[in-house]
């Protein structure tokens, strides 16, 4: 597959283009991290993160590619790996994560919301993640999910979001510690 075709497919939210890149670039990129002191699990994790950064930038139309996709994903993964090495160095010898309360509460809140997302209907969830994470516009959402047009997609997104919000709010009120 040519780079141009990969980009076109990602812009439509086609995950098979992501699969394609993963298999194609896996050995080249994980190997470069293994050579820089990472273990296999870390190499895989960093590569996946880099690829998802690329996916998101393209689907949000935030990236004008001036080099090959492989070069771009390679340099993102190198950056992420260097950051990870710095982080490891900084925290070496220190006791692991001492949570301070504000941070802890925030994490708890996000966890409850994630639970709700997990439990909501898949068709609504897919539309919300495609819009809020992948950054697809209403025209692309309509196309990907077989909706009549951008207006239909916008209404559907609104209804799904409302449903999730109410669901989360009902969970919050039953968790007193968050008040």
């Amino acid at each position: 597959m040519k780079d141009k075709e990969v980009i076109d497919r990602i812009e439509k939210g086609d995950e098979s283009a992501l699969d394609y890149l993963y298999i194609k670039l896996y050995s080249m990129i994980t190997r470069s991290i293994l050579k820089n002191g990472g273990n296999e699990e870390e190499a895989k994790d960093i590569f996946q993160d880099a690829l998802i950064v690329f996916w998101q930038k393209v689907s949000k139309r935030e990236l004008t590619l001036t080099a090959k996709i492989s070069t771009y994903v390679y340099s993102v993964s190198q950056n992420l790996w260097h950051k990870e090495l710095l982080r490891k160095k900084r925290y070496a010898g220190e006791p692991a994560d001492i949570p301070f309360s504000e941070d802890f509460e925030n994490k708890e809140r996000i966890k409850i919301i994630r639970d709700c997302i997990d439990k909501m209907g898949k068709s609504c969830r897919d539309i919300l993640t495609a819009h809020y994470f992948d950054g697809l516009g209403m025209t692309e959402i309509a196309e990907k999910f077989g909706l009549a047009n951008a207006d239909t997609a916008k209404t559907r997104k609104y209804k799904c979001k409302k449903k999730l919000d109410l669901f989360v709010k009902s969970h919050f009120t039953s968790n007193d510690f968050l008040d």
Binding site: I117, T129, Y132, D165, K169
Partner: protein, 85 residues
């Protein structure tokens, strides 16, 4: 579009950076005057973060299920480089 829907889209557009500078100013002034609006904006930020978390793990789960041949590990460019070393 009813009032509720308009309110929703305004908060949504603010968080998606879709408002022009003038609208941002007006929106942030409105937040200062309304604790309810501020609370709603913070709530929406959390929901967005959770959607991000969720989607990211979903995509990682998808990638983890793809077949990666260990043999591809030693093929191609990098093994060529190794031979040079």
């Amino acid at each position: 579009m009813n009032a509720d829907e308009k309110y929703f889209h305004m908060v949504d557009d603010y968080l998606s950076h879709q408002l022009n500078p003038e609208e941002v100013l007006r929106f942030e002034q409105a937040m200062k005057n309304s604790p309810d609006l501020t609370e709603e904006v913070n709530f929406q930020k959390d929901v967005r973060n959770a959607l991000h978390d969720f989607r990211k793990s979903e995509l990682k789960g998808r990638l983890n299920n793809l077949p990666i041949k260990e043999s591809t590990y030693t093929s191609g460019f990098w093994s060529f480089q190794e031979r040079q070393l």
